[in-house]
Amino acid sequence: MTGARIFLEALKREGVREIFGIPGGAVINIYDELHKDSELFHILTRHEQGAVHAADGYARSSGKVGVVLVTSGPGATNTVTGIATAYMDSSPIVVFTGQVPTSMIGNDAFQEADIVGITRPCTKHNYLVKDVKDLPRVIKEAFYIARTGRPGPVLVDLPKDVITASANVKFPDHIELRGYKPVLEGHVKQIRKALDIILASSRPVLYTGGGVIWSSAAADLTKFARKLKIPVTNTLMGLGGFPGDDELFMGMLGMHGTYAANMAVTHSDLIIAVGARFDDRVTGKVEEFAPEAKIVHVDVDPASISKSVKVHVPIVGDAKRVVRRLLEELKNVPQKEIRAFQKRTAEWRKKISEWKETQPLRYNRSKTRIKPQYVVEKLYELTGGDAIITTEVGQNQMWAAQFFKYKQPRTFITSGGLGTMGFGFPAAIGAQVANPGKVVVDIAGDGSIQMNIQELATAVQYRLPVKVFILNNRFLGMVRQWQHLFFDKRYSETCFGVLPDFVRLAEAYGAVGLRATRPDQVENVIKKALDVNAPVLVDFVIDREECVYPMVPAGASLKDMLLV
């Protein structure tokens, strides 16, 4: 078998069905082999960055590993932003890059780049395959590393002579990595200790993040929260990990979090963090984060524990297994004690309801201008929340997080850690590939959408009925908001002098283009977009100077919020 054939066989053994990529000289032999293969479906994107975000969106929406195949040199370097995006948000993807033949490596050959060196700090692990005989093992390890423990991207660099060489190989059925043994089962003593602390608390808060989504712990966690009636807040990455319409839900916390969530954290006496990492956008001024609280922290990545805040009960383990164990342990707690706990914490829940009532998420409604929040609310209403929402980065992302209630895990897909503009649209394409029957909507800004708009061709070519809702304010909105609030309205380089006509642009690509300029058009336009079984780009011309509130200024304490 040739290296190219071995490569495809190894992918199939990992259950791969779809590959996102772009061919080139260094991988032409693989593409030739792919041409003869009817089991693997290749989606040709228009830019390698688009391929990686699509594979990432595929992974986030399905939990399966996303696969990318690109050529050497620029093909490989174009994947870097996508890889770094997946790395920050722990998304399992495997990126295969072509490379010049091993004899040419280091010679500054045509389309040569040291992609293993370049991606070392933004991959969970990466490989340069030097011998075709190593290929089956390396590919198996790559998928295993990507999807286990704290998931993440893995890159495999394939020199052309390795792809063209032939060898008799055996495909391994087990893996031996002595340096990689993720701890999944939480320490039972620690779990019991956590439960004791929880039951002794008076003002508990469950603070959950992307780890809950990745480990499929949402259902068990919801059960746990409801059993003890503990209020829940999600990080941006954790949205969908707890039903957004549940009474115990306080909304997102942090920089653009709800008043209730940020106040609850500030006054809490116990934070139970599950699969979240106390990111600076969540904690605000870290010295003043949850000043009265003890902290229980469940995370599969030991390095996330006690990184930015001191943790009292650390539990290293997979979120789902740990929460299941907590539920098991809870069975041994007498009903009387549970009732006493619920009674003791009733006042706390009441306080939180008051915060929710006095300072809900809100905006100034308008009859003449389209408010972006209104668009998101209407989308929620018209889909009943049954949709996969991806976002770009900035104001559009925050409005999408605030005004849509996510009820299921894997329905909110966003670049949280790296904050990559241009992520949402290709991610929506990947999510649609993984979920053919689902409504997939990218909530975008006019700035972000231009960063990967070429993928409209991909959506049209593969008949992927992805919807893009551009909240168009002709600004780089979030930066403008900061300039508005903290730089005396000096809008340095945030106002677009020229924008394309998005409707005609969509049509030029063979997609459907729609526009709404008045609030009374919004509902009909959304309905129309959802009804069309084709890619649709909707240009919502919104109130230009609308800001995202509440807001905790960067570096300020969570209690110092700017409200509407």
């Binding site: 070392r120 340096g179 990545d301 390095a303």
Partner: protein
Amino acid sequence: MVRRHTISLLVENRFGVLARVAGLFSGRGYNIESLCVAETTDPTVSKMTIVTSGDDQIIEQIIKQLRKLIDVIKVTDLTTTEHVERELVLVKVNAAPEHRAEILRTVDIFRAKIVDVSPSAYVVEITGDEGKIGAFIELMKPFGIRDIARTGKVAMARTAKKREQEGTRHVA
């Protein structure tokens, strides 16, 4: 409190591993004071000794981040256990005729060795822990140190206490 730590690593003996470890330190803003790496008796495994400094939280992060590297098999912070540390240093020192006797005496006291002699300079080889090496270099300074080459520290945990009582432990 910022303290100096000696961390010992067992790593896969593969290309790129040193770059991964060094890249982790530079990428996360940790500092490497010295780094030594060589094969062990098992040719698939190398041992690294890294000297770094930081407060407890930073050292904890360094160790956790190192453990996350797939090619890192084992990480031990030797600072928290009993261990021996050694460094080998070559010092080229001016050896004017009137100073030769004193240099030789000092070399003798420190159980160092002269490994090269020329009309105007000696090259001295010395091994020892930080304190000994530091003291020796201070004593050589007045004569004029022309060049210095250090291996960086290597370190090893001492044998377990139980065997110590049996008298098998040698204090160097």
